[in-house]
Amino acid sequence: MTANAKGQFTFPGGVHPPDSKTLTEDSPIQIAPVPKQVAIMLSQHIGAPCSPTVQKGDEVQAGQVVGNADAFVCAPVHSPVNGKVKEIALRSHVVLGRVQAVIIDVDLENNPPKKINPEKYTNGFDFDAISPLQIRDTVRNAGLVGMGGAGFPTRVKLEPNEQSPKKIMIVNACECEPYITCDYRMMLENPEQIIAGVKLAKKASESPRVIIAIEDNKPKAIQMMARKLRELHGTENIEIAAVKTKYPQGGERQLITSVLNQYVPTGGIPPMIGILVLNTATTAAIAEAVIADWPLTHRVVTISGEGVSNPGNYYCSIGTSIAEVLEFAGGTNSEAVRIISGGPMMGIAIADLDTPITKTSGAITVLTKQQIGKAKFANQQTPCIRCGRCLEICPEQLNPTKIAHAVKHELLDTAQTYFMTACIECGCCSYVCPANIELTGYIKTGKILLARQKKKMPQ
C-alpha cells in the first residue's frame, strides 16, 4: 500500500446549500420504459461534431453507430434502440443551442427495455488479457465522454502523456450538487461495475494509484465501496477518501486540493500535474464498454425537485426527450416553475421540453417558487453592498463582484485583470449574494464576450 492521501479533505471557500438528497437517495434505480422516439444529438459536448452515418429511412439496431467523426477529440454516438431513422433535424441542446440530431422512430414491438445487468461484472473477466491500448480503443468506439457535466471525451483523458505521466487517478464520486443522487445509487447498487471500470481506467491510463473520493454525507456508499474493494481482487492501489461535505467539492480543481493538497495552476488542467479525474458514471460506462461490450446508450438520470410528483433515479436511453423523462416521474406538479438540466447550482434552465437527454445530463431538477426564493424568481437585483461574502466563499479565490461589475460595463480588460477566465462557474457567489446579483451569470456573459472579441480580432 502507498502512503495515505495528504490533503485536508477540504478546500478554501465553498458553501453548504441544503442538499435535498432525501427526495431520491432511497429510491432504487428504475428502468425507464422505452420512449416512442429518440433524438441522438450529433454534437453533445466539447469536441468535433459527428457527421451522421445513417440516412433517412435506414433501419438501425440498438448499439449501432449513427454518428462519427475522424477528429481526435470526438466521441461517436450510438442508437439506444431498434428502429427507423425518421429524419436528421435540428434539436435543442442545453448549451449548444440548436444542433443536428438523428431522430429515430422506435420499433415498439421489438424493443425490450435495456437492463443494467450487474451480474456481468462480478466474475469471470480476465483483466490481464486486455492491453491498455485495447481498452482505450474500446472506450473511443463506445463513445464515452465524461458523464459529470463537461463531457470531455474519455479516450483523450486516458491517453498517457510522456511529458507528464499520470501519477494518480481520482474517481470523483462526490456528487456535491444538491438533489442529484444518480452516482450514489450506482455505488450502492452496482459497486462491482464501478470498481471494474476503475480497474480498467487505471490500466488504460497507466496510473499507479487510484483514490475514490466520496463526500462524507454518503456513509453507506463509503461502506459499500470499501467492503467491495476488500472483497474483490486486483484492488491493491485503490483507496477511498472520505472528503468533507461542501459544495463544490466535486469540482476537479477543488477535489485535487482536497485530496492531494496540490493546486492545479490557474488556466491549467489536471493532466499538467499528472492527475486524471474521472466521474463514477464514466467508470461504470468504461466497464460496460469493455466487459459487456456495449456502447454508451443509456445513463442513470436523477429526476428530482419539489416540482416533480415522483422523484427518483431512472435508467433512461440517451435521446429521450425531457418531456418524456418527466412523464416517467409522474410529471410536474402545479407548483413547478423552473426546469433545470443538472442541479440547481450549476444546471441550466431549459424552456424547450423536446430537448433530448444527452450523455452528460445526470439530472433534471424541477424547482418551485419556494426553492428559488421570491426575490430571485422575480429577478430583483439590488446594488452591491460590498459585504464581501462572494470573496469569502469563492473556491477559486476570485473577486466575483469586481468581475461582474466590469462585465456589466463592458470593461473586459479590467475583468481579465481579476482573472475572469479562471472562474469555474460553480454558482456559489450567486448563491450567497444578499443583493441577488447574478454574479455567475455576468461572469459567464463576460467569458462569451471575451471569446467573441478574440475571434473577431484578426479581421
Binding site: V95, G97, F377, N379, G441, K444, I448
Partner: protein, 293 residues
Amino acid sequence: MTVADIIQLWNSAWPAGVTMLTLGSAFAIVLLIASEKLKVEIDPKIEQIHEALPQIDCGACGFAGCGSYAKAVAADPELIGKCAPGGAETSDKIAEILSLQASAGGHPQKPIIHCRAHTADRTYYARYGGIETCTAANALANVQACKFGCLGYGDCVDACKFDALHNIDGLATVDYEKCTGCTACAKACPRNLIEMVPFSHENMMTVACSSKENGKTTRQMCKVGCIACSLCTKKSELFTMADNIAKMDYEKFQPSDQTEEAYTKCPTCVIVYRGKSAPAPRQKEKKPAPAKA
C-alpha cells in the same frame, strides 16, 4: 484730484509699467525663437484627410478616431476604404489628396437586420428572467423558440453611438437617416443577425430572416420566418436558397418586375425593403388561401 496728485501717481507707477513691458517683450522673444526652433512639421495632407473624413470618431476603421485614421492612411495608402460611414465618396477624396487613383468605388455599407419578427410574431416556451442582455440570453438554449432571430434585449442599441437603432416591439430596427454604417451593431449582435450590405439603392430588398430550421419548424416558431419554399428563387434570379434560407444577391440588386413579384408573392412576407424610405413590411392579407387544394 489736483494736478500734483496725478504727477505723484505717475511718478510711482511708471517703473512698474516699464518692468512689465520689459518682461513681456523678453518672453515674447523667447517664445518666438522657440516656435521657430522647435517647430513640428505636420504633413498638410494629414490635415486635409482629416477634414475629408466624417469626423464622428466611430472607430469602424479600427483606429481610435478620425485623427489617428488620417495619420495612418497618409502613411499607408492601402488603408483607404476603411471608413464605412464616409463610403466611396470619402475614399475618393482621400485618394485625390494622396494623388492616387480613385478607389474601386462601392456603395456605402449599411446594416440590415435579418429578422422581422416582433414579440407578437414569435413563439416562446417560457419566461426569461435572467440578465437582460442579448449575450446573456443567447447563452441559454431556448429564451425564445427561434434560435436564430432577434432577441430584442438591445445589445446593438447600446452599441450604437448615433441613436440609429431602436428596439421596437422586441425587434431592433435601424433608423437609416441617422445610421453612419460604423458596423458597431454588427459586432455587438451575438447571433450575427446584422449584415453590412452595400446600399446601391436607397431601399434594398432583403430576406429578413436567418432561421436555418426546416420550413415546418420555422412556421411553428415564428409567424414571419422564411419557410424555405423557394418561391422567390423561381420568380427572380437574385434569390438563392441555401441552408433552408433564401438569400438576396445585393451586389446585383436592381428593382424589377421579378423582384417585385417575389416581394408580393412571399407567403410569409419575409421579403422586405430596408432603407431610408422603405415601405412598411407587407402584412399577410386575411388568411392565406391554400394554394393548391
